[in-house]
Amino acid sequence: MGARLINIEYYLPDKILTNHQLAKQFPDWSSEKIEKKVGVKERHIVRENETALDLALIAGKKILKNYDKDKIDFLLFCTQSPEYYLPSGACILQDRLDLNKTIGAFDYNLGCSGFVYGLALAKSLITSKIATNILLITSETYTKHIHSKDKGNKTIFGDAAAATIIEKSETEKIGEFVLGTDGSGYKNLIVPNGGLRNRYNNNVKEIYEGSGSIRTDNNLYMNGPEIFNFTIKVVPKVASKTLEKNKISLEGVDYIIFHQANKYMNDYLRKKIGISKEKYYSNLLYTGNTVSSTIPIAIKDSLDNEIIKKNDKVLIIAFGVGYSWGGTIIKI
């Protein structure tokens, strides 16, 4: 007995922020350079009155169009842009998606590593016979946390939600997991204010970053160079440990999907690990970094474009805020 991934659907909000618009706002910003290096041309961003739960609901409805919703017996909801402190968004989603009242449902707070952790949770719920048909929704609206004058983060991040169904199966299609955490880096990717440690502050001072970006402690802060250092150190090790644990070589894997952080970082990681370009997914051109949804979006697009096909073994690695990371191999 095991678990398998059945289907993925995603939703991108309809409002688009283009490089052209960003170049207007930041005159010293080179549209060409950004596209070449960061690999993003446009990102979808939520409107003022649109939330991660709204996106999750649309992605959820989309996937349930082709799936009997009464079969769902567990809902996992991954977000760092919650509707409320309490209750859990997952409870609200149960009602709005009209799922059975007999399901288990909860939120978990993870960023870029969220999808891999979601698969690990789903697999363990299935193999422990707690659930059989799981709806996993990752939804993020980092743009709500980003200061309107934060050039760097506005360039990188986009909003999105992805819904994935994981089902009990005869054979195991979700491999062994390598998970990791290093909370010593928590300050390098953080929204400092708005929680209960530091309340949201209306009189907060503006902080001028060296690169010409402005933010406050109410907003998302990312120490890009430090995050890059972390990924250089951790990701190659996670990749090799995941392969080892699944008793497979890099050559034996059909395709490799990493969390899409930014093009430069992903290209560097690819070269460092020694992965050929042909086997490596790299595309955030029209979405930007959508945090916990980059991997399901990549899997869905790779399936739709027949880059990956049935029975392919796909290595997936996720890493980011926390720090938190994880890797596994899924069989399509």
Binding site: K37, G152, G224, F228, N229, I232, Y264, M265, K272
Partner: protein, 84 residues
Amino acid sequence: MMEKMKIEDFINDLKDALDIENENIEISLKTNLKELEEYDSLSLLSIIAMIDKNFCKQIPSSDFAKVTTVRSLIKLIGKEYFII
């Protein structure tokens, strides 16, 4: 111990990382990186990658903040990695 690097090779790699296209811009040990238009958050990523590739070393961002001249960057990486 890794092979030591020639200063001129390092400066060439640094120029690539900074994406300096203007051939008239001379980079020497005395060049103050902070005064270069090309030294921004994006080129910093390239410099981090270049240092990792050549020396298998990650420089904490707080140390990067103290870098001024190319010489100070070399000192930060460690003089023992260079043929001086």
